[in-house]
Amino acid sequence: MTSLLNVENLTLQFDTDEGRITAVDDVSFSLKQGEVMGLVGESGSGKSVTAKALMKLNPGNAHYSDSTKITLHLADWAVDIMSLKSSRDMQVVRGGAISMIFQEPMASFAPAISIGDQMVEQLLIHTDMTKKRAREVSIEMLDRVGISDASKRFKQFAFELSGGMRQRAMIAMALSTKPKLLIADEPTTALDVTIQAQVIDLMKDLVDDFGMGIIFITHDLGVIAQTADNVAVMYLGRIVEQGPVREVIRTPAHPYTQGLLAALPDLEDMDSPLVPIPGDIPSPLERPPGCVFHTRCSVAIAGKCNTEIPEFVQIDANHRAACHLATKGGRAS
């Protein structure tokens, strides 16, 4: 598979009233065509900000470091995202080569414009279709994502659809421009489990059909296990562990990943107690020195973990963890 996206040394800070805070710290990853990468972490871990950075969608008080390099490989062109300045230049990427679907479909559709008009509008901007053709394509897409009576739904407004239907329409809209990369930010979190299962199935089908790369952001490791090929676990703006989904979930090497898994209620073993990760995620204003996780880590070594930032340790061919205690082929414990 060919490379689609390379992110190198992404560091992103925000100016706030209380000072400059680091939201993403030295994050690197890459994505191939047709690959689904899961980005997992708790609230405040920087996963959404990282995804938005790929389209430079973060607000004006965001500062990217000079070392940040994001490259998107299109068929005939390697786009250097950081060098795009005007919003006109960005149009190639935003909604064109990269589409995004959000957690709250109700908040993502304009309430006073019909679903169909919104879909047509973006096709007119990003493609050279005629209005008539854009209409046909939109209705086809709505049909493709399993919305029955698509030509009727095309004329309806977001409030007329149920939650699951809205998320399907959102996916139809995001895919109608045939993006190379789809960013899905907690697309199933607001849905009931039965509907979530339907949407996950739909997304898997679409990857097979369209062959785009997907970055799937979620806090739910179960959803990741069911959808992703590879996974990156984020904590306080840093990737602490990444690798193939089987290895990360079955043999987690970073104490944070281990903690996340232990905190999950397991239906197979109802008697095992739930083990919370002690403490809370620190405020970004009080970023811990050394390993960002050391304040909550049960195996932290005083004098090392609280002073030295851990380098990535290669656990296996594609599996690595940023922990002083991680060893090749083994796990910290």
Partner: protein, 336 residues
């Protein structure tokens, strides 16, 4: 655990009228329909279902915070017993101190302009449970310590706290009046997993220590499996299955319960695509289908399911199910 019910409902229905047209009967939302259930004293009773299933309305009805259209709710904690359909104002005031609610969103539930101490103390003052400031302070400190809040933080405002700490403040406020019955409505749904485990452990230990009865409303079956000893599954205002937790998860009988269980994303990457998928969505409660309310999505529905509504019937000790076909399905079907 004593076997007497603390709360017992019979044919409980909550309907909300909608603004209708000028002619014909006014449409009503049948949020809860003919629910009969006993919640045993000292139990941790789980109520699960999708959004729109009526679980929140049911919880509110038990707190006398939703209008009761039909049926009865009886409360008996050994000290007092009330019939909530005929309760008078004076008794209702007393009931309010015995039955409390913990909300879902700890960011919305706490007033940003009150200190933590005042937030926790408010129920005591409103209900007139304490006479002096010293007495109030003592109660607040006692419950705050039980909820593992740092006592030095009582003078701070809620904005200084994280989600997990805020939820512990909400719990302390709900428990300060020493209630017997607590409704926890999606109380961990807004929390991160690492914090969720902590709050669940806290609820369980407090429940055991204080001998409380909990109604734990949740859409998350794996959470319910861990904390509850009895579970009721709701669909479109009706109970479709109730059973002790172990029994329900080991041998679910209703096709809806089975579908809910199999829709939980498994942590095993090799279990992909094995789930039994449910088609469609929950119908509108203003216009429910005739017969079994689940027939529009049920893979096993036959003619009788579209005509007659099944009654909740016993299918073994303490295990009740409302399905015309549970017997044959239990015999023929492979487990979900």
């Amino acid at each position: 655990m004593s076997e007497k019910p603390l709360i017992s409902t019979r044919d409980l229905s909550v309907h909300y009228p909608l603004r209708g047209g000028l002619i014909g009967p006014k449409p009503v939302v049948r949020a809860v329909e003919s629910v009969s259930v006993d919640i045993t004293r000292g139990s941790f009773f789980g109520l699960v279902g999708e959004s729109g299933s009526g679980k929140t309305t049911f919880g509110r009805a038990l707190l006398r915070a939703a209008p009761i259209t039909r049926g009865s709710i009886k409360y008996d904690d050994g000290e007092v017993n009330y019939d909530l359909t005929t309760i008078d104002d004076k008794q209702l005031k007393d009931y309010r101190s015995r039955a409390q609610l913990i909300f879902q969103d700890p960011y919305a539930a706490l007033s940003p302009r009150m200190t933590v101490r005042d937030i926790i103390a408010e129920p005591l003052q409103v209900m007139g449970l304490t006479k002096t400031r010293e007495e109030t302070d003592a109660r607040v400190r006692e419950i705050a310590a039980k909820c593992r809040l740092n006592l030095e933080h009582l003078r701070r405002f809620p904005h200084a706290f994280s989600g997990g700490q805020r939820q512990r403040i909400s719990i302390a406020r709900a428990l300060v009046s020493a209630p017997q019955f607590v409704v926890a409505d999606e109380s961990v749904a807004a929390l991160d997993v690492s914090i969720q485990a902590d709050v669940l452990n806290l609820l369980k230990s407090i429940q055991q220590e204080m001998g409380l009865t909990f109604l734990f409303i949740s859409h998350d079956l794996s959470v319910v499996a861990h904390i509850c000893d009895h579970v009721a599954v709701m669909y479109l205002g009706r109970l479709v299955e109730t059973a002790p937790t172990r029994e329900l998860f080991a041998a679910p009988r209703h096709p809806y319960t089975k579908a809910l269980l199999s829709a939980i994303p498994s942590l095993d990457p090799d279990a992909r695509g094995t789930a039994q998928k449910l088609e469609g969505e929950i119908p509108s409660p203003t216009n429910p289908p005739p017969g079994c309310k689940f027939n529009t999505r049920c893979p096993f529905a036959i003619d009788i399911c579209r005509k007659d509504e099944p009654k909740l019937e016993s299918s073994g000790s303490e295990h009740n199910v409302a399905c015309h076909r549970w017997r044959e399905l239990a015999e023929t079907e492979v487990p979900a």
